[in-house]
Amino acid sequence: AQSVTQPDIHITVSEGASLELRCNYSYGATPYLFWYVQSPGQGLQLLLKYFSGDTLVQGIKGFEAEFKRSQSSFNLRKPSVHWSDAAEYFCAVDSGGGNKLTFGTGTQLKVEL
């Protein structure tokens, strides 16, 4: 069965600093890959997704992610973090193409002003 690992439970960055959140997956083929964000009391919102093609994908709110097949990784990045980016971020995979998502355990992002 596929699995998703987000090795960082908590990350703290200063506002204006760059951000990288790590995600590794375990699956034989290339799955569909997603990043979601969850703010307190809110549902998950899709930031970006990768299905195929260009390995650098752009998302909403200035986020981007790069798929690296050799490392089975799909790391999320943002060049300059804003205080409003403080939230929990989840990486997810759909290995079967049936829209069944397996989520990682999440990374809680704190932004220091």
Partner: protein, 114 residues
């Protein structure tokens, strides 16, 4: 466009009681999902509906959990009887399967079992 609606937002019950959660997906979305999110974990898919048929319920604890989606629109998730370990946020999501794979999530119902 209205988002996915869920109610109630919060529920506190005692163990062995029953509880039901309601979800109204985005209009026109054929696929509906229920997830369980335990504190400190990512959401786990419990059941997936396509219209009013079940696509996948392999992770639904069927001895106590049940779900239905009558008429292919609203859905109800029930737990009977509840256990302490059922304390979690229950998320509903929907997707227009033929479009983008994007799942749109509701705000969730936070269940506390005491």
């Amino acid at each position: 466009e209205a988002g996915v609606a869920q109610s109630p937002r919060y529920k506190i019950i005692e163990k062995r009681q029953s509880v039901a959660f309601w979800c109204n997906p985005i209009s026109g979305h054929a696929t509906l999902y229920w997830y369980q999110q335990i504190l400190g974990q990512g959401p786990k898919l419990l059941i997936q509906f396509q219209n009013n048929g079940v696509v996948d319920d392999s992770q639904l604890p069927k001895d106590r959990f049940s779900a239905e989606r009558l008429k292919g629109v609203d859905s109800t998730l029930k737990i009977q009887p509840a256990k302490l370990e059922d304390s979690a946020v229950y998320l509903c999501a929907s997707s227009a399967r033929t479009v983008s794979y994007e799942q749109y999530f509701g705000p969730g119902t936070r269940l506390t079992v005491t």
